[in-house]
């Protein structure tokens, strides 16, 4: 059975989507989505433990040996991301029903769950595959479903945000397609392992250099890396809360993972970071991202928008980590991928609860939240501390690892930028806390707020709680991140 797990954890959510549509019932669709994500999470955990003990798993779809068919390869790196993505999907499933009932037309709820299943399928497919073109196909499944998930936001701005995301995302996807095509032109193969074997002979080939460029730019658009981030803030801020939780925690992370896979598993670190000046470029871009994202977040007056802009900044940390291309840098990147996914997922969950209780997420409306909804406020506070990187949070663990990696690489300017951006995070988190804690609520707000539904609170505390546990008891996560980095670099841990 374990032999088929690599395909099952993608195929089960895939099977779930048409079932949701066929049954046409919101309740049944939720159960299907829940079961599919739990099944995916379970298989991901089993896979991760199997990979940790027995080494990488290979699976040939259709029993066509690679490079003739499509192969799945699970190693410590993608097992890490698989567990993360499917875990967030479970949290979203717990969170979703009440939030969706409040935000989505009841006639469309079953379609909405089908879209969530599809988005999960796409993301897991990107992570698990060992075939370059297969990445593109699943990238488009996840992208198309996320456009739809975002477009159903309550305000009309959601439509515009989804459209802009669609245009940018399609350009990004097509850039990836061009890059894969150029690599195919000079090798004749699409299998990642086969490509990796043939490419070193071609270092210096101009077609290959351009392929690296196109894939990098395409995935940078999908990951919203700083100058190409324009679609992200309004897309995540306008999305319905449940989609916001899921996408903010997984979407950009998977794109970054895909870049890591292309850089280390296909093109090879020797080409991307040795032959081409990508390392310096990535460090500059990452530094700019963490400063600009955090700075702009300070000027927003909507909770979800602050969180979305903060994501732009936080992606900068991950990018800086991978730009170092060292064992430490990569483990810091993996740590921050997981830490930020948990924290930002938790914070978007909190923002969704705020939206449900107050009917808005505007920052002035938060006044008095600390008294009217202390639990929500505490979650917001803890998540915010994680964003800043205060000790005993997961954010601290990953930032500490990043700073250590930067010290090792003698990148003092970047370290200064990390500290500055943390200060900026203090400013925007502080603003939220200040309003919610100290400012008097307007008299109108005393009218009865709906209470927090228990499943939503559970999901919120689940995400925030796991991020706190990971901050206090950091060893397992660090170990997994180290193993993931080692798997990418090809050095046995």
């Amino acid at each position: 059975m374990i032999a088929h797990l690599p395909i099952l954890q993608v195929a089960l959510p895939l099977l779930a989507a048409p079932l949701c549509v066929l049954l046409r019932s919101a309740r049944a669709a939720w159960w299907i989505y829940l079961l599919a994500s739990v099944a995916a999470f379970g298989s991901a955990l089993l896979l991760a433990s199997s990979v940790a003990t027995h080494g990488p798993l290979h699976y040939a779809v259709g029993n066509w040996a690679p490079p003739f068919g499509i192969a799945y390869v699970i190693d410590a790196a993608n097992a890490f991301v698989l567990v993360l993505v499917s875990g967030i999907a479970v949290a979203t499933a717990i969170y979703a029903p009440r939030s969706i009932a409040a935000e989505i037309d009841p006639q469309r709820v079953y379609l909405y769950y089908a879209c969530l299943c599809l988005c999960l399928t796409g993301l897991l497919g990107i992570v698990a595959t060992g075939d370059a073109f297969n990445v593109f196909v699943f990238l488009e499944i996840s992208s198309l479903s996320s456009y739809a998930l975002i477009a159903l936001g309550k305000r009309r701005q959601a439509l515009l945000a989804a459209f802009r995301y669609l245009v940018m995302g399609t350009l990004g996807g097509t850039f990836v397609l061009i890059g894969i095509g150029l690599a195919y032109a000079v090798t004749g193969t699409l299998n990642m392992a086969d490509l990796a074997q043939r490419l070193p002979a071609l270092y210096g080939n101009r077609t290959l250099t351009a392929a690296v460029g196109f894939v990098s730019v395409g995935l940078a658009i999908k990951a919203a890396v700083f100058p190409l981030h324009a679609w992200l803030p309004s897309a995540y801020a306008e999305a319905p809360s449940a989609a916001g939780v899921f996408l903010s925690a997984t979407g950009t992370k998977v794109a970054i993972y895909a870049f890591l896979r292309f850089a280390f598993g296909i093109f090879g670190a020797g080409l991307v970071f040795g032959h081409l000046p990508m390392s310096a470029l990535i460090l500059i871009v990452g530094t700019a991202a963490m400063l600009a994202g955090a700075a702009i977040a300070c000027y927003q007056d909507d909770l979800k928008r602050i969180l979305a802009w903060s994501s732009v900044g936080q992606i900068g940390y991950i990018v800086v980590g991978l730009g170092l291309a060292s064992q430490q840098g990569l483990s810091a990147a993996f740590l921050h991928i997981s830490a930020h996914a948990l924290i930002k997922g938790g914070l978007f969950a909190t923002a969704g609860i705020v939206a449900l209780r107050l009917g808005t997420t505007r920052i002035d409306a938060l006044a008095g939240l600390a008294r009217s909804a202390p639990a929500v406020f505490v979650a917001l506070l803890l998540g915010g501390l994680g964003l800043i990187g205060v000790p005993l949070t997961a954010g601290f663990v990953s930032k500490w690892a990043l700073v250590m990696a930067l010290i090792e690489a003698d990148q003092w300017a970047v370290i200064a930028a990390v500290l500055l951006s943390s200060l900026l995070a203090l400013v925007y988190v502080g603003r939220i806390i200040e309003v919610a804690w100290f400012r008097e609520p307007p008299l109108l707000a005393d009218t009865a707020q709906p209470s927090t539904p228990a499943p939503m609170a559970l999901a919120m505390w689940g995400l925030v709680g796991v991020s706190l546990v990971a901050g206090v008891y950091a060893a397992p996560l660090s170990r997994a991140a180290t193993a993931a980095a080692a798997a990418l670099l090809g050095t046995a841990p």
């Binding site: 068919g69 004749g188 043939r198």
Partner: protein, 335 residues
């Protein structure tokens, strides 16, 4: 230099002229038609480069379906474009030139066009697909073998993409117009039953319709031996029904193929495809390993598997395309 070069030059000139024309015109209707022409011309180029299946699909999808969807949208919005301000056009031009420059730079190290010793032609994949597929799978159209068997998983993904688009559009446009609309008066929908004397149109459409549907079935089941397969067949089948809707009105079409039936067919096709995958798992093979479908004769198993998955693709694509059309067409009726 042979005759093909001249055809190439003519076609490329038409393509470039079309592209420039659609970039410059501010009439969106003209731009949509030119984009259809662009797809059709590129389909001709694909034929010249031996990609008959691709040409078929591009003609049916790019020139046919996409244009129908553009026209449906234009009928609902009826807008004309404004002049592009230079603050947008200059950075756009710079980005386009830079991207093109990188690609030209890349092309200088690309293998010569149509050479026999390129990495693509030299890779072991070539021999496997072109020589061994006849014994392994036994389908003369190698594109079908690769599409449905060697890379059958990609094609499953592709079917899921169509499914995703269908349910996404259903979610966005599904239930008529919302009450709060910026534009109070409902626009005329695209397929109004034509009021005036349309005997010619009706008679000819009625005459043609069975043949269009028959042709779709031929394309569906002849895909093993010639160009064609589930995608092309699905689009042709849908376009036959779209013709019916255009001539006889949306209500007549919905009476023939109800939206409720479509809503079941779209997921059904995906289920058939994925179901084949799970069936092979249960029979002890790998996911989508058609060899296990027939314990005695693997090649027969491959045939059966390809037939089933192409059927799944055909069902989903037909229903999805028709559903897209219904969604756009019904939007203007204002029910």
């Amino acid at each position: 230099m042979n005759g093909f070069v001249w055809i190439d030059i003519v076609l490329f000139t038409i393509l470039a002229a079309t592209a420039v024309g659609l970039a410059r015109t501010r009439q969106l209707f003209a731009a949509a038609m030119l984009s259809g022409l662009f797809s059709l011309t590129s389909a001709c180029i694909f034929v010249l480069q031996d990609a008959v299946d691709v040409a078929f699909t591009e003609a049916a999808v790019g020139a046919g379906m996409t244009t129908v969807l553009f026209l449906g949208t234009l009928a609902l919005t009826r807008s004309r474009e404004k002049v592009t301000p230079p603050r947008r056009s200059i950075p756009a031009a710079l980005i386009a030139i830079f991207t093109g420059g990188v690609l030209i730079y890349a092309s200088t190290d690309m293998p010569p066009f149509a050479a026999a010793d390129t990495p693509v032609q030299q890779h072991p994949l070539t021999q496997r697909f072109l020589d061994d597929s006849m014994t392994e799978i036994g389908v003369p159209n190698v594109v079908t073998s690769v599409l449905a068997s060697y890379r059958g998983y990609d094609t499953l993904g592709e079917t899921v993409v169509v499914f995703t688009a269908a349910i996404a559009v259903l979610m966005l446009l599904g239930r008529g117009r919302p009450a709060t609309s910026a534009e109070p008066k409902p626009r005329e929908a695209l397929p109004q039953p034509i009021q005036h004397d349309q005997r010619v149109l009706r008679v000819v459409s009625k005459l043609m319709l069975p043949f269009i549907l028959l042709f779709a079935l031929y394309v569906q089941f002849h895909g093993d031996y010639g160009p064609g397969g589930g995608f092309q067949a699905g689009v042709i089948f849908a376009s036959g029904l779209i013709l019916y809707a255009l001539v006889f009105g949306l209500d007549a079409a919905r009476a023939a193929v109800s939206p409720a039936a479509l809503r079941r067919m779209v997921p059904l096709g995906v289920l058939i495809y994925a179901g084949v995958g799970f069936a092979t798992l249960l029979l002890g093979g790998a996911f989508l390993d058609y060899n296990v479908l027939d314990a005695h004769d693997p090649a027969h198993g491959q045939h059966l598997g390809i037939l089933l998955v192409e059927l799944g693709v055909g069902i989903t694509v037909t229903a999805a395309m028709l559903m897209l059309f219904y969604s756009f067409a019904a939007r203007g009726v204002g029910r």
